[in-house]
């Protein structure tokens, strides 16, 4: 099970990086590896469940205009605080908005923020890790000390600070969430680069006169990619938790954008008379997190069986 918000940087790096990447250089072997990986993944019921729920959420986000029975921000499509019924599967909120439609559209915010923030953090963190690990010396020291500093911040607190600096809006939420995940990517990448750097084929490339940049991106990066992908898969749920936390605090995407965290917060005031307003969006959020955790674990076990607990 993943630790989505964990402050510890689990060493997903395990030595011997060559093994995971054998497929990266030989296309045929890669295809065989993919098929073998899928077979291993399929045997893990938790991972398959996670993938299934994840695909449902993706479908919800993509097909939201088709699937949502009502306009998510239209007020008065029902009476305020209607209990769940056939007309409104999840009931209505204090403005008479359809909660089910808002949950479906809320999947967009959750997924976009979760995935884009992790990708952004991955790009920045991996680049820093590559530079740090490959060049070493003072560059390494400076980059990694900054990462240590970033790492000391609890992710939600760093995100709160970033929102204070940047102001509201979905794009700023993505950046705010991403900043908290840069350091783990940089650390994981750097650790693996240090190991790969010593391999004879890197030495051979360098002696053959291949430039540093080419070596880093063509020879080092493919060989450290597997743990980075694992790390990415494990972090998406954390990014979604952080986003929903920001939304809950009122620092997320501005209303009336449907975001799960804000829906939960708005419902809290009505918990006595209309408990469904807060509880039902929370079920969506929890399902998404459980699914992504299971999926992340499945990806980890598939790409790096040694990490299996």
């Amino acid at each position: 099970m993943a630790e989505p918000l964990s402050a510890d940087d689990r060493p997903l790096t395990a030595g011997d990086p060559g093994a995971g990447a054998a497929g990266a250089e030989v296309p045929a072997a890669a295809r065989g590896g993919l098929r073998r990986g899928w077979r291993r993944f399929r045997r893990n019921p938790g991972a398959v469940f996670g993938l299934a729920v994840f695909l449902v959420i993706v479908a919800m986000a993509v097909l939201a205009p088709v699937l949502a029975p009502y306009d998510p921000i239209a007020q008065g499509v029902g009476k305020p605080f209607e209990r769940p019924s056939t007309a409104h599967w999840a009931g209505t909120d204090s403005f008479g908005r359809d909660i089910m439609s808002r949950i479906i559209y809320g999947a967009r915010v959750a997924l976009v923020v979760g995935i884009v923030a992790v990708l952004l953090a991955m790009i920045i963190g991996v680049t820093l890790g590559l530079i740090s690990g490959y060049y070493g010396g003072i560059v390494d020291t400076v980059i990694m000390r900054i990462m240590d500093g970033l790492f000391a911040f609890p992710i939600i607190i760093l995100a709160i600070a970033m929102m204070a600096v940047m102001g509201f809006g979905v794009r700023n939420v993505i950046v705010a969430v991403a900043v908290g995940f840069i350091a783990p990517f940089a650390r994981v990448t750097r650790g693996d680069v240090l190991a790969v750097k010593e391999e004879p084929y890197i030495e051979a490339a360098r002696l053959a006169g291949v430039g540093s940049l080419a070596i880093i991106f063509r020879h080092v990066l493919p060989n450290v990619l597997a743990p980075i992908i694992v790390q990415g898969a494990l972090r998406v749920s954390g990014a979604i938790i952080t986003e929903s936390g920001l939304s809950f605090l009122g620092l997320g995407p501005p209303p009336p954008t449907p975001a799960w965290g804000r829906m939960i917060a708005e419902g809290q005031s009505f918990i006595v008379m209309a408990p469904h307003v807060s509880t039902i969006p929370g079920i969506a959020l929890m399902l998404a997190i459980v699914a992504l955790n299971l999926l992340g674990d499945g990806v980890r076990d598939t790409l790096d069986p040694r990490m299996r607990r």
Binding site: M1, A152, F153, I155, A164, G250, S278, L285
Partner: protein, 314 residues
Amino acid sequence: MVRFILSRVGQTLAVLFTVSVIIFALMRMIPGDPVLMRLGDDFTQEAYTRLRHELGFDRSIVTQYLIWIRSVLAGDLGDSFLNQERVSTLVLDAFVPTLTLVVASVIVGILIAVPSGIVAAIRKDSAWDYGSMGFAIFVYSMPAFWKGIILIWIFSVYLGWFPAMGYVAPWADLSQSLWRLVLPAVTLGTFFSGLVARIIRSSLLEVLDQDYVKAARARGVRRAALVYKHALANALIPVVTVIGLQFGTLLGGAVLTETVFAIPGMGRLSVSAILNRDYSVVQGTILVGVFAVVVVNLLVDLLYAFLNPRIRVA
């Protein structure tokens, strides 16, 4: 041991320095002129220049950092832009409830995690094992703020057992304080217990597999005695580390949890400060929060070294 302590303290100071630079840089990236914000609408050019000089904004950025960090080290976090109160007072007043919640949550978490981790390890692969580990994953995946609302719904609204919100300091009225802490501490503590139970289970399984435990078993030591006298002490050492590593996450979770339960802590202070654009308070809250995380990490590392003879002796 002395060398270990010195090197850890050195690392901690380096991290604290970086953290202070990051926070300083962040606050300088805020759009808008802080001098203008203090002056309000009606001012002269002369007043502007004077205040700018007083606040040090006409100096180099390095000098500005040095001025700032010197006053921080002296315990001066500036004044609240909103009501001229000392930021240090505001932050400390808010930090106490948050820390109380974190400590209570760690206690609740351990009270739940130790028995369920032990049961899961002793009866590995039984219904007990799957049940307690399934529960651990379940409570772990529930977002703290949602779990808090569900608990309020069940235990305050429906059953009426506990108050839904509010905070009373433990030294003001202990029973009232504990009474109000139950739901928030369970909210955050179950999250923590989910993590710790799994770690206790796996470290206990590992310890039970060690030769000294097998030897004790061969001597005829009963299994219960084995677990409690021989294995558990060693299995608990990693838990100390987890408290350190997760202190930041717990603090972050506390920020959300206290918002649910209307506890006047760091979360409420920082969010209201952001909404009011009261940046010296934002800066102070974040600074104190992160410093606390770094220092707790140091203390836990030292405690770990002390508990683990392999490091203590080396």
